[in-house]
Symmetry: C2
């Protein structure tokens, strides 16, 4: 199967996988459930589930065994988008080509949507997976909770807030992104790996190195796209980093050096995957897709 | 040990147990960690941890084995308070006798505090408990996630929002409270029970009946206190149900009938505990405390 076909198949799978787990809009509280479905379904590149399925392939996991983890990590991502877009945070009106959740519904509902999606993420990952060791599932839950919390994604958001209008050094910027975006990307990669045959310690370190590199790469590319692409292509407000006076790789390094940085991280990511050989094929292709995407 | 001594001992234990799990205020992001500690430590009756420890006693669990669950359920409770108090929800300024988190810090920080506390709750419950079966721990995680989410506490909040200014029937009001307060109280009771010797199916049903009754009882008493006590005694804004035009047991039934309802639920709760005999002593005492408290 070529990469694009694989990707479309897995995006479709991700969508159906999420859809099955979302409470029906007909069940009370109906407005909340309608809003949760609005925020989570029918959009997004599903990069994190794709990473899960790709590392699942690396460790030989049946996609059926990866579904819980793929849903969980995407639900955490979606909840963070809904909360980030709130007026007290980034105050954004457009997401995935649609009005943001609080614009379509209201602030209080969007707050509860994010809260409930976070709970649903952990609910998904706590569900029994036939044939999977329960102790390993606990390790996965711990990993996702740490990646989401104050020393992971939520902490990255806090650093981001504090950084508005500040001039950061490159290492401060990296520290922010390792938390804000990197932690959940890393979790997506490692959760997928947990679903298959156990890796030895050296392979685990190697994969973790890939995961961290991919997280940073994703953010550098995001910064480049925010400065170069237009809103219609992105499906979210373009150029908002500059408007919010946020430190980015582009305004810290300039666009040319930011692109060099992306190329360098891409090369590092591929090196980290090399020892896995063909088993890491999808992960490698996905890395290229992350860099070459235009949205 | 008399009840008050037990309660104080367990409240102290709950505080230390939470304190150990909170990231130090010296670790980045420092403002977020400071705000998380502000919201979670040094206040509160710790009713949910007390319920955990009391049912832990019922199933013969060492309190050491109950600590993770007690922390997890209290962290979910605290996160919900921080989010409920936000301007887009109840817009309250006083909680546990102190300015609310968003007043002391800012709205965005309070949003992230709630988000990070929810992650920390699941992180606490996913941690290895020596001697505890991992599959049982997954059941506990699933229970807490369901109790917190859109068909539990967060869903109850959504129903509450939709009910402002509406006149509800008694059964609609109960439906709301079964979600908003009841789900997490029930989870506290059942999580504590999971920490000890397994109960047979009949005993589990019996305990679950107690748990649901206690949840409703807690809310009826809360409504009575909100209408009768003053702000200084409550440590939170008194009379706010009336100000927000929220349906309560008191404005639906009148104060006398609300008190009758509380007495009836108390009796039901004690009946549900009767088959457990002396093992349920602390749970019975705690039920009385919940009814007789003045704050």
């Amino acid at each position: 199967m070529d990469f694009l076909t694989w990707m479309e198949t897995m995006q479709q799978r991700s969508e159906e996988n999420l859809e099955r787990r979302m409470p029906s809009a007909g069940i009370a509280p109906q407005r909340l459930h309608t809003a949760m479905r609005y925020a989570a379904l029918g959009g997004g590149k599903r990069v994190r589930p794709l990473l899960c399925y790709a590392t699942g392939e690396l460790t030989g996991a049946d996609p059926l065994r990866v579904d819980n983890a793929a849903a969980a990590v995407e639900l955490i991502h979606v909840y963070s988008l809904v909360h980030d877009d709130l007026p007290c945070m980034d105050d954004d009106v457009l997401r995935r080509g649609k009005p943001t959740c609080h614009v379509e519904f209201d602030d209080a509902t969007a707050l509860l949507v994010g809260d409930a999606l976070q709970s649903l993420a952990f609910q998904s990952l706590a569900k029994n997976v036939p044939g999977m060791d329960a102790a390993r599932q606990l390790d996965m839950l711990l990993l996702l909770a740490q990646a989401s919390g104050s020393r992971g994604m939520a902490g990255g958001q806090a650093i981001d807030l504090a950084a508005v209008g500040q001039s950061l050094t490159l290492s401060e910027l990296e520290f922010m992104h390792i938390h804000k975006t990197g932690a959940l990307i890393r979790a997506a990669v490692l959760l997928g790996a947990y679903c298959g045959a156990p890796l030895d310690a050296a392979a685990w370190v190697q994969l973790d190195h890939f995961a961290k590199t991919a997280g940073l790469l994703f953010q550098v590319v995001d910064d480049i796209l925010d400065s170069e692409a237009d809103t219609a292509t992105l499906g979210k407000t373009a150029g908002k980093d500059a408007v919010h006076n946020k430190p980015t790789y582009v305004n810290l390094l300039g666009i040319a050096q930011a692109k060099e940085k992306a190329a360098e991280l891409r090369a590092q990511a591929h090196s980290a995957l090399a020892p896995f050989g063909l088993a890491a094929r999808r992960l490698g292709e996905l890395t290229n897709f992350i860099v070459d995407r235009s949205f």
